[in-house]
């Protein structure tokens, strides 16, 4: 009892002293901005999932459709916040405010001084803003059925990748700061606030990758087919958990990410058909191919792949910690983990589809999922070495990002 009271008093004292840090205003600006951006990007993520289904099932007859409005509200809001933070921090840098100096900002265009993450976020959102009208123009020229592999779709995706990288950098630098100060802010489940932000962001980013299952269709090579979906799935499955572990360096952190990712995936897959049905009825539209949207059970179950890969990372961490190989909580041999992760990336998606067709045939699978998962064992064997190579490269890249996110305070 006495100990509990003492701990509570200690926590209060710590919280009080944290709020009295001279640079607290600067870090409040950064952290509040980062959390607002996170909310806006989650909004954009739901808009993107809805938009993808809208294109497939309703078409794309104009730019100002509800999912576009939802998605671009998130993107534009995030871009504006990045711009505000860059301008405010530049002003505060020249005013020599506490916490805004060369150790906590980077210089861009010889004048602006701001956190690297917000600069990247701004660049990414600007690329997306440029890609939007160009994509619309491309659709006007070449029709509504332009696939994922269109130039301005890729430009939009590259912008999104740069922007999300940016906001991860923003959260990570704040997390590194919170870990290093003597009087850190209160924690929840051993994680500081920015660390929670990183976990949610990476979970959301992984969720965005899931529909790649049907966007990456097989490539026909004579008598065999090269399956392409495992390449993007292994990219996400290896890059994100490894970088997350190395960023935060706490056992179990990748499983926490899966605990957030799976409900997020279920929520997205529940939201999109409901939103689509509602707006189609409300606007008096019709479905292009006459079929109504259904809950995509394969994509909703696909986080199982991420769970298997997260368990691999946690197993390697546990083993290396026990054997004393993990100096500074590092993770060695990540490339090998990436190679191994290629196996579930190739096998699990068709496994889920087959399991449902065997044990729950009443649950309908969307035709595009069935088409992608049609190829047999030969195609899988052909794809596996390429997926292993992608896994090894992405796991190594995850090591680079994870280490930088752990140490960087700019």
């Amino acid at each position: 009892m006495v100990r509990a009271i003492a701990q509570t008093k200690g926590k209060r004292a710590s919280h009080k002293s944290a709020s009295m840090r001279p640079d607290i205003t600067e870090h409040r600006i950064r952290q509040v901005s980062a959390w607002i951006v996170l909310c806006l990007l989650l909004l954009a993520e739901f808009g993107l999932a809805w938009d993808r289904r809208w294109h497939d099932m309703v078409g794309r007859d104009q730019f100002w459709i509800p999912p576009h409005i939802m998605m671009y509200t998130g993107i534009a809001g995030a871009g504006l916040i990045a711009l505000c933070v860059v301008l405010v921090d530049t002003l505060r840098y020249y005013q020599k405010k506490a916490g805004v100096d060369d150790s906590s900002t980077v210089n861009i265009l010889w004048f602006f001084h701001a956190p690297l993450g917000f600069i990247l976020l701004g660049i990414g959102m600007l690329i997306d803003a440029i890609a939007a009208p160009l994509d619309n123009y491309w659709h006007v020229l070449y029709g509504v059925d332009v696939t994922f592999w269109a130039p301005f779709h890729l430009m939009g995706h590259l912008g999104a990748v740069i922007g999300v990288l940016g906001i991860i950098y923003a959260f990570a630098s704040e997390a590194a700061y919170e870990r290093q100060v003597e009087d850190p802010s209160p924690r929840l489940l051993w994680l500081n606030g920015p660390e929670w932000g990183i976990v949610v962001l990476l979970a959301g980013f992984q969720e965005v990758v899931l529909p790649a299952l049907t966007a990456f269709i097989p490539i026909v090579l004579g008598p065999v087919q090269l399956i392409t979906y495992p390449l993007i799935l292994v990219l996400a499955a290896s890059l994100f958990p490894i970088s997350l572990y190395l960023c935060i360096r706490k056992p179990g952190i990748t499983l926490l990410m899966i605990l957030i990712l799976w409900p997020l995936s279920l929520a997205t897959e529940t939201f999109t058909p409901l939103a689509l049905r509602f707006m189609v009825a409300r606007l008096g539209l019709t479905y292009r191919l006459g079929r109504e949207p259904v809950f995509d059970v394969t994509i909703a179950m696909l986080p199982l792949l991420y769970l298997v890969c997260a368990l691999m990372v946690e197993g390697a961490v546990s083993w290396q910690r026990r054997s004393g190989e993990a100096r500074n909580d590092e993770l060695r041999g990540t490339w090998l983990l990436g190679v191994l992760m290629a196996v579930p990336a190739v096998v699990i998606p068709p496994g889920i589809a087959h399991a449902f067709s065997l044990w729950a045939p009443a649950i309908p699978l969307p035709p595009d999922v069935v088409h992608v998962l049609e190829p047999g064992w030969l195609a899988m064997l052909l794809t596996l070495p390429i997926a292993m190579l992608v896994g090894a490269i992405m796991a190594s890249l995850g090591t680079v990002f994870g280490d930088i996110w752990h140490w960087n305070r700019q």
Binding site: L120, W138, V140, L154, M155, L158, G159, N408
Partner: protein, 67 residues
């Protein structure tokens, strides 16, 4: 088009040429579309080199230094 008035009505066709927007060459579309890619690759390469420096610094047991 049908025009109606006191003298009666008349229906006729008015041919209108509808043109799409001027077509952007495919190669130019791809060039613009992929223009962020070199930026992203360059950023990743800078990060790889930065991490090497960070690791060297951390291994010299100076973890409090910020970069």
């Amino acid at each position: 088009m049908t025009a109606s008035g006191p003298a009666g009505s008349f229906a006729g066709d008015i041919p209108i040429d509808v043109l799409g927007p001027p077509a952007i060459p495919i190669w130019l579309g791809w060039l613009i579309g992929l223009s962020p890619l070199p930026l992203l690759i360059a950023f990743i390469l800078v990060q790889v080199r930065w991490r090497k420096r960070l690791r060297a610094w951390v291994r010299q047991e100076k973890p409090q230094r910020s970069f």
